[in-house]
Each structure stands twice: as structure tokens, then as C-alpha cells.
Amino acid sequence: MPEREVPTFPADGGARIEYELQLYYWIRLIRAFEERVSHLHRQNKILGGVYSGAGQEAIVTGVCAPLREGDFLAPLHRDLGVFLVRGVEPGRLMAQLMGKETGLSRGKDNFLHGGELSRGIFGPTSMLGSSLPVCVGAALKFKMKRDPNVAVAFFGEGAASRGDVHEAMNFAGVHKLPVLFVCENNRFAFSTPIEKQMAVEDLAVRATGYGFSGYVCAGNDLLAVLNLTQRLVNRIRNGGGPELIEFKTYRFRGHSEHDPATYRDQDELIEWESRDPIPLYELYLEKRGHDLARVREQVDARVRNTIQEAVDYAEHSPFPEPHEALEDLYAPSAQTDAAEERRAARGARG
């Protein structure tokens, strides 16, 4: 399958309109891709944990859009969209979810732990919050090497309670590193509501304690996400040091496919469903003068095709060979090879 370019965000008017349609494609693709994943999960074709990002697609789309090749991202477990927007082949992503050889981790792990370094995407461990120090380290490299790049660390408001998050933000502040901290505050960590997680309304205030600024933004409003992110990413790229954005959002589905989420308030859910980022963005496209019905039709088809291709690709991909479980543990290295040789030589002698 052909590799796509990492997208860059166009500044001028005409290209921008084109790009805004691309944004619509992405936000729709993410939603549909995840719906298909959920379906495949029910069919037992996807075996591991699956965490829907439905309701939060505007964040990943709007944050990734203004990024460039060479930027570094650590997605949250709900951020499958990061992979799609950054141009990872949908088929390989689907293969990853199915544990196939052609998946990002070649079947070693599932879901988003694979990462795709060629697209600047770090595959986080499950340990929430522990990817923030890594992101900060990537940003340290950018600073040391004068690279014009930005590292983006996604995390949930739940993960924000972990110590690693504190250590990472503090260090980023001290060294004014080019890192954007993106909190997706969806008001729940699994079943635990925000009131049991923190005693403040806006997590963004914590940035002050690390010497940079924290912003609060409507996370379901793609344009708002995009505009704020673009502004801050530019500032960071120009040496302005870290920034934190807290996106207010909501998880439309359960924590994972297994979770009926009965602990949630139905009114709250309805309230937030009425802030669905997709119709909100469609409203914008209409105001922009697009013929929405036509746009929809085109995008529907494109999305359907892409997903079907991805599923076909993944389903037709082989599982890894059993012995591959013992591969990819160590990078080959001059030293190890020398050691092997020396041991081999000794073996031959004695």
C-alpha cells in the first residue's frame, strides 16, 4: 500500500478551504473507523481492549492538523485518530488491532501501543501518564539539536493525577522545551468522575505552577481546537516554551467496549451529545457555503472505501509466526555481535 505524506496546514484561502474539507474527512473517518472496530470487536475479530474516542475526534483532528513532519506525538489510548490524521495506513492500523503481522507492532501488542515512529508517533505503554516524560525528552532533543519541531503529549484528565505528569511538566517548564501538553478532559477516568479526581474546575491552572500558560478550550469545536493549537504550536516552534491546553469534552461511549457506563448521568450525556463535534463542524461547512448534502455523500463514499480496504487488508494479512515472539527484543548492535562472535569462537575452541 502506498504511504501518504504527513499533512501540513495551508495558510492561504483556497488551499485552506480544500483543507477544511480534508478535516471533515478525517473527523468522519475516525468516527467511522472506530465504529467498525467496535463492530469487529463484537464479532471477536478484534480481541484486545478497545477504547472509543467517539465525541473527542475534534481534538485529535484539530491538534494534529497544524503539525509538521518531524514533530513528535504521544497519543492517549483513545487517540486512534492521531494515527489516521498523521497518515498511517488505515490497513496497517486495522492489522495492528487484529494482531496481524502487518500491524504496527507486528502482532506484539494491540491497539495504540504500537506507535509509528516514521510518522513521529510514539506508542505509549498502558501506564497512563508515563508517556509525558518521553515526550519531554523528545522536545529536549529538538532543543539540543535546534530542530524546528514540537512534541505533543496527549493525556486524559485522569492520567493527570499521576506523578510522571508532574515531573514532565516541571522539567519542560525549567528548560522551556518545545512541547504542547494536550489534556482531553472528558470528565471521567473509567467510572471515576472528575470531582473524585481533582479539586479544581480547570486543570489548566496547573500550568502556572510550572511557569507556563494553561488554556481552556471547547474540545468539541474543531475550529476552536484548530485555531488555538495553531497559534500555540507556532509560538512553541519559535522558542516560546511549553504550553498546556485543556480541552473540555466528553466520552460518548463507555470506557471500553465492555463498559455500559451505567454510572453516568443520562442528562449529562444528552447535553454532550448535543455538542457532537461532527454536526457542529457540518454547521460550519454550511456557513462556509458548502452544499453539505453533496459533501457528505462524497465523504461517506471515501470513508466507506477506506475502511473497507483497511478491513480487507487486515483480514487478509497473516498472523505472525509463533517464534516471532522472541524477535524485536533487542536491537542488533556492534557490541552484541562482537560478544556473539567471541562466544562462538570460544565455543569452537572448547
Binding site: 484486545g48 502482532g107 485522569g158 492520567a159 493525577s161 473509567f190 467510572s191 454510572y263 505472525p320
Partner: protein
Amino acid sequence: MEITYLKAINEALHEEMRRDENVFVMGEDVAELGGAFKVTEGLLDAFGPERVIDTPIAEALIVGAGVGAAMLGMRPVLEMQFGDFISCAFDQIVNTAATLRYRHGGLASCPIVIRAPSGAGVHGALFHSQNPEAWFTRVPGLKVVAPATPYDAKGMLKAAIRDDNPVVYFEHKRLYRSVKEDVPTGDFTVPLGVAQVRRSGDDLSIVTYGGTLHQALEAANIAEREDGISVEVLDLRTLLPLDREAILAAARKTGKVLVVHEDRLTGGIGGEIAAIIGEHAFEYLDAPVRRLAMLDTHNAFSPPLEEFILPNTAKIVAAVRDLWAY
């Protein structure tokens, strides 16, 4: 009554909280949700939010705060949502908790229980399948247990809660709903530190614990039926302190020992056990002590990979035959 392993743990929690008002439960999603696996189900309704506490995602805090409360007389039962995340509380366990009594000159105790759902074979991949026990079995001051049956799960959790020392309690996720047995409804405890012979045999001994106990018992039956090999199966139950006498007795009895665990081979507790046997039952051994364990890699996800690296009944049977043929 016949209950599952999961239900047995849940019952122990209910009963201990009823028995002693200083027992409380703390962890992520343990209250309203009843835990990711429903192990703490019903506790919130029975004991209220002061004694069943949903914490933020902060494993170091969960354990550290447990220690603080325990020093002042409470008996916290602390849940790691998955045993894998115990790495995030590592320092609090191996330093703060394990050395507490020692550094206070014997004048403080630390009666906490850390419940850690562990184990593979449930498509959990790298970070929802780990068997972290051997990180802790090398730390004096801790006790480490890994019950394999509903009866033990209940009795040992009760014993752990009543124990005045920090206990890391590994419960195997695969067993939650897959094993059932008759468990008394009333109060009983299973002492920590005592292994149990689960099957008597004369030709060869399997030493195991936790998830692989059931595979080992199956394998022993197959080996007896198909090959006439009489296999003893010892369930360690407690991993720190080890029941050395029981291990050595099993080794001396048959002279052939196969150690089985789902934890990785290198650095798993099997090495310690083999070393103890090799040192203290040397004259009794008719064959090398063999180990069958997860291969030295991570908990790979894809079914063929997971199948390849984990021990199972067939692999145990093969290892038994091989050792018998020595």
C-alpha cells in the same frame, strides 16, 4: 456453596469489612463500578464511600496513603486495577512499606494488602498480562501470595488482611470466572506461608502456583493415564516466605522436580526454588530440576505468539515425559 474465584475474593472483602471497621478498600473505580473486574462489587452499598474509596489514577499515592493509614491502625486493602501497574507504585512498596517496621526498630507495623490482578492468557498483551511477583519475592518485609483456588483466595485474603505485615496478593485474572469450588460461607482463614500438596504422586513432583496449578493438575492426570507416571503436585500458595520444607519434601520424595510458572523463566521464582532444591536436596535428585515457564520475552498479543510463549497443559505433559525419561 460452589462459588467462583472472583466471588470468593469478593466474599472475603465483605466479611472482613463487616468484622473489622478498620478495614477499608481503596483503588481506582472500586466503589461505584465495583472494580474493573467487579471484585469489589457491592462494597460501596454495604459500607459507604468513606470505606470504599475511588482514588485518582495514582498508584504511588494509593500504596503510600495505605501505609500512612495502616501505621495508625487501619487495615487498607489497596487495589491495583491491573497488576501490571504495580510498577508505578514500586518504590512505595519495596522501600516505604517493606522497610517500615525495620527502620522503626520494630515499633511500627504496616498491615496493608495490595491486591494485584495479574496473569496472561486473556489477550491482555504487554501491559495487561504481567506476572510481576518475582519483583517482590526478593524483598524482605513483604509477604507475597498467589492463591489458585476459590477456597484459598478467600481464606488467604482474610489471612492477609489480618496479617500485620504488608502483603502483596496476586489474583490470577484467568481464574476469576473459570474456576469454581465449594467454599464455606462462614469465617475461615488459610495461613500464609504454607504450601499444599494438591495431588499425591511417587514418580515426579511438579512445584507450581497460581494460574498454572490447574494446568499442572490436568497434565498430571494425563501423564498418569497415558504414561503411568505418578505425579505429585505442590501448590506453593505463598511465594514469600517460601515453604522450604514442603518444597524439599516434594523433591526428596520423588527425586525429580519440574517447576512450572507463568512468570518468565529467567528471574522467575523458579530459579530460586531450583537453587534451594539443588542445594538442600542434592543427594535425593535423580535428574536435574527442570523449569517450564513463560519464554524470556514480553507478553505478546497476537494469539499465535501468546500461545507460543505461555506454558499450558500440553507443554507440561511434554516436560513431565521428558523429565521422566531422564
